[in-house]
């Protein structure tokens, strides 16, 4: 099967407007007869469900949490990019497009990225109109800040709670459509399979997580907005419930999986403190605006960081990357931290951490404040307290969170940070219209692979989720459904629904019947360790081959020795988790296979065999300038399809942030 990305013809900056001008439309009377299923209610899902409901489609939305407002988009901290150029600092749609393609290390599809940059400005307008309280300047206009991998200030934010505010905006739009009867909401429901009829996605099997009963739901189309799969590593910044199950079931029903090995390791997270750790907490990238990252120049230096004099500190990002300094992209910053710690310069009890220091920023802001207030001859303590107030306003909630977790005051002592799994650029392969290789089945937001290439820039995930949901799918879905207006709703008594529901129930029965000796959690931890050690920040062929064998063995062990308490027909979080871990195990194998196949380094994918002399990622455009789209062919068996990447505008070069 040849992959057709359906990229419109024409100039890059005209593709999307031409597409919109010629796309098929569905008239309002027909929209009322068309049903759409939306799985997941994060930024992509909530915005899609709300927008499609507004257009008049009959929407059913599903989330596994107790309310759509809990989806993990809520935890995004730093901000959302948009090419508004409100700061007059040279930003434009082209710059955002260029930065994103370059930031993704030339492994993203140009046409998708350009569209993303184009609609970015409308997202900010829409959110402000919904009452999203972005940070503002004294003149009442919107404030911006910088993020990694860019040299302009294009990031809009709401303190360190930008994701929360954007999601609550989308959630309120969704709840409005629920109240109007256009969207039917199913909370505490999990999608457990896609139902296909005549090759098209026509519904899902979902399980009510309270009663434990499975349900059949018809839709003329199915939208998966189910987020990323970072929890395959067990420890990540994802929520505990974040999982790959919806996307994985779709994959097994024929949707190709794109670039599964492309994982983002975020450089600034609170380090692991012990074996009990259940998740990792991110400290927003926005902290790199003002904080300085360093380690001692001397190996194994155990002094209190405050006692280490300036000339004995190695500000290694500023040293290695003078042009971007502490604001290099995430993949670069993460690898640099790992390099220092591996070389023995790490700090803290585990020695797997570096310092993120706010002292200079506090003093710098303090001096500005003192100047503003006309204070002369002020002592350092006063400058510090003035500066602390400024930092508190910008990052207060993040500093508080750090203190709650570690018990240390980051205003006084530098924070200890280390990279952690944060986001997955890979996901279901989609064409320009966000349709997977299964007709009628779409993937939006983090669940698809399309816009971030091999590395996502900060503040771009929120942008993509909302772009897909508010401004892309309302057009592209119509193009598909316009052909479907004569398809009456299919009864869920159809054989395909009955058969798929039976398969789902058989699997649940099988899981429950194992009654082995090991907990679901213990398997998840073991999978995570294999993935982190061998398919994490650095990968090599030998390790990946071992990992594949270890995962296959783990899978056998899981299916013969997992212990799940309780019953199927009741509220049973352990059973829910077991199904998700079983899918993560299969995904883990595919990720290793993909990482093994891609014998180059690009973005967050670092193959030790492919690096420059100074240890930077070395791409191989001759061999690997393609999207790896994997087709499921049964157990532990996949066929690789390649979508070649053609760069018409941004010519691939060795990425340099020096």
């Amino acid at each position: 099967m040849a992959l057709d990305a359906k990229i419109p013809q024409g100039e890059m900056d005209k593709k999307w407007s031409d597409y919109k001008g010629h796309v098929k439309l569905v008239n309002p009377a027909n929209k009322r007869k068309l049903e759409v299923i939306v799985v997941g209610t994060g930024l992509a899902g909530a915005s899609a469900a709300a927008s499609l409901g507004e257009l008049g489609y009959k929407v059913k939305a599903f989330c596994f949490q107790d309310s759509p407002r809990r989806a993990h988009s809520i935890a995004a901290q730093g901000g959302i990019n948009a090419a508004k150029n409100y700061q007059n600092d040279g930003d434009s749609v082209f710059r955002l497009f260029y930065d994103t393609v370059k930031g993704g290390d030339y492994r993203a599809r140009e046409a998708n990225v350009h569209r993303l940059a184009e609609v970015s400005t409308a997202i900010i307008d829409q959110c402000v109109a919904q009452g999203v309280p972005f940070a503002r300047e004294y003149g009442g206009l919107l404030s911006n800040r910088s993020f990694g991998g860019t040299q302009v200030q294009r990031t809009f934010y709401a303190a360190g709670q930008t994701g929360q505010q954007l999601l609550l905006g989308a959630y309120s739009a969704l709840e409005r459509q629920v109240a109007l009867g256009n969207v039917q909401m199913f909370a505490r429901h999990e999608m457990l399979d896609v139902v296909k009829i005549d090759g098209k996605a026509r519904g899902i099997i979902a399980r009510d997580l309270v009663s434990g009963k499975t349900e059949r739901h018809f839709g003329h189309a199915v939208l998966l907005c189910s987020g990323g799969y970072g929890n395959v590593f067990y420890l990540s910044t994802n929520a505990m419930g974040s999982n790959v199950t919806a996307a994985w079931k779709a994959h097994k029903k024929g949707a190709f999986f794109g670039n599964p090995c492309f994982t983002q390791i975020h450089p600034t997270c609170i380090p692991v403190s012990g074996d009990h750790q259940s998740k990792l907490t991110l400290m927003s990238e926005s902290l790199r605006n003002d904080g300085r990252i360093w380690v001692p120049k001397q190996k194994g230096d155990n002094r209190n960081p405050k006692d280490i004099p300036e000339n004995e500190r190695d500000y290694y990002l500023e040293r290695r990357y003078p042009a971007f300094g502490n604001l290099v992209p995430r993949d670069v910053a993460s690898r640099a931290a790992k390099e220092r710690c591996d070389e023995g310069y790490g700090v803290g009890t585990t020695k797997m951490a570096v310092y993120l220091d706010y002292k200079d920023a506090i003093m710098r802001y303090g001096k500005i404040e003192a100047g503003k207030q006309g204070l002369t001859a002020v002592d350092d303590a006063t400058v510090f307290s003035l500066g602390k107030a400024v930092v508190e306003e910008k990052y207060g909630n993040l500093f508080e969170m750090y203190e709650k977790i570690t018990g240390e005051n980051p205003y006084e002592t530098p924070m200890r940070i280390y990279p952690a799994v944060h986001y997955t650029m890979g996901g279901l392969w989609v064409d320009y219209e966000l349709q997977t290789t299964v007709p009628g089945l779409y993937a939006l937001g983090e669940a698809n692979f399309s816009d971030h290439g091999a590395n996502r820039l900060g503040a771009s995930a929120l942008m993509q989720g909302l772009a897909d949901g508010y401004f892309v799918i309302p057009y592209t879905l119509g193009n598909y459904l316009a052909e479907d207006i004569r398809t009456a709703s299919i009864s869920t008594d159809h054989e395909a629904f009955v058969q798929t529901e039976k398969e789902v129930n058989d699997r649940l029965q099988q899981l429950m019947s194992i009654q082995g000796k090991q907990t679901v959690e213990s398997f998840h931890k073991r999978l995570g360790k294999i993935m982190w050690d061998k398919c994490g920040m650095a990968r090599n062929a030998e390790g990946l081959k071992q990992a594949i064998q270890e995962i296959q063995a783990l899978k056998k062990e899981f299916w013969s020795d997992v212990r799940i308490p309780g019953s199927i027909d009741a509220f049973n979080p352990e059973l829910d988790k077991a199904g998700r871990v079983a899918d993560f195990i299969e995904l883990g194998e595919l990720m290793c296979k993909d990482a093994l196949n891609r014998n180059e380094s690009c973005g967050g994918h670092f193959r030790e065999e492919s690096q420059t002399e100074d240890g930077e990622a070395k791409r191989d455009d001759e061999q690997y300038s393609y999207v790896a789209a994997w087709e499921s062919k049964g157990e532990s068996n996949w066929e690789l399809h390649k979508e070649p990447l053609n760069f018409e505008i941004v010519k691939p070069t060795q990425r340099s942030y020096k």
Binding site: S67, R136, Q161, V178, G274, K404, Y470, T519, S522
Partner: protein
């Protein structure tokens, strides 16, 4: 920070479903690190229960970074436990010492029926939002984001109200089971912004009506909600809710 380990006695509310009667059960946990989060301590207990062939304790949780609002434990008589401006998931075990007994209950309110053990049904909050907790603007209708400047103070106050995570600690902690802080926060956020003006009156009337319909109690100004709110939402939002409600009640009669 000094790290230590502790043994604890837990008394946890167990209830099979919303039809059955519940009771406190006692459990022991050993060698709990002061660096663990409270929920990680529950993970340890649940792993122990599963291996013993017992039913693990059901509790709601998701992000474990204090923002999704899903976790909801009533710990030693306090919503989200002893720390101020904190969620259950961000509570760490250094708040306790060796030998402590900790009592853990679900949120208790008529409007939050128990699903199982420590899990409650908070869909009443979603229905209150459905009644008017939004600005009616369809996708694509927005003007430029900087077309309407907003006084920084109003924007900041709207943001502080919007920081509500919808966890329900305010309701759980209120002797009347009132949801006025939750409703007040949303009404305030949208009333402070010019974009919220057109629906200002209908919004507050409809949201309060839904709140009453769901069975939440009234506010008698004890301020327990503010004291226990993990995001420090101010009771000034309740005052604003009352004022908005009165104004709306007066003006709509004339329409």
């Amino acid at each position: 920070m000094e790290h230590y380990h502790m043994n604890l006695t837990l008394k946890v509310w167990r209830q099979q479903n919303n039809q059955s009667k519940g009771q406190l059960e006692t459990y022991q946990v050993k060698d709990i690190s002061s660096e663990m989060s409270f929920l990680e301590m529950f993970d340890v207990l649940n792993e122990q229960l599963i291996l013993e062939g017992k039913d693990p304790i059901a509790f709601d949780h998701d992000c474990r970074e204090g923002i999704c609002g899903m976790c909801s434990m009533y710990i030693n008589g306090q919503a989200h436990g002893p720390w101020q401006q904190n969620t259950t998931c961000q509570l760490h075990m250094r708040a306790f010492k060796d030998g402590d007994t900790i009592v853990v209950e679900p949120w208790r309110s008529n409007a939050f029926p128990v699903v199982k053990d420590l899990v409650v049904d908070r869909s009443s909050f979603d229905r209150i939002i459905q009644a008017g907790g939004y600005i009616s603007v369809n996708t694509g209708n927005a003007v430029d984001a900087n077309a309407i400047p907003i006084d920084k103070k109003d924007a900041d106050n709207a943001f502080m109200a919007a920081a509500c995570i919808g966890c329900g600690a305010c309701v759980a902690t209120c002797k009347n089971g009132s949801a006025m802080l939750f409703v007040g926060a949303k009404v305030s956020q949208l009333a402070l912004l010019p974009q919220g003006a057109p629906e200002r009156e209908s919004r507050v009337l409809n949201m309060v009506a839904q709140m009453d319909k769901e069975g939440f109690g009234n506010c008698t100004n004890t301020y327990a909600c503010e004291a226990e709110c993990p995001k420090g939402i101010s009771v000034a939002n309740i005052a604003r809710l009352n004022s908005e409600y009165l104004k709306a009640g007066l003006s709509t009669e004339e329409k």
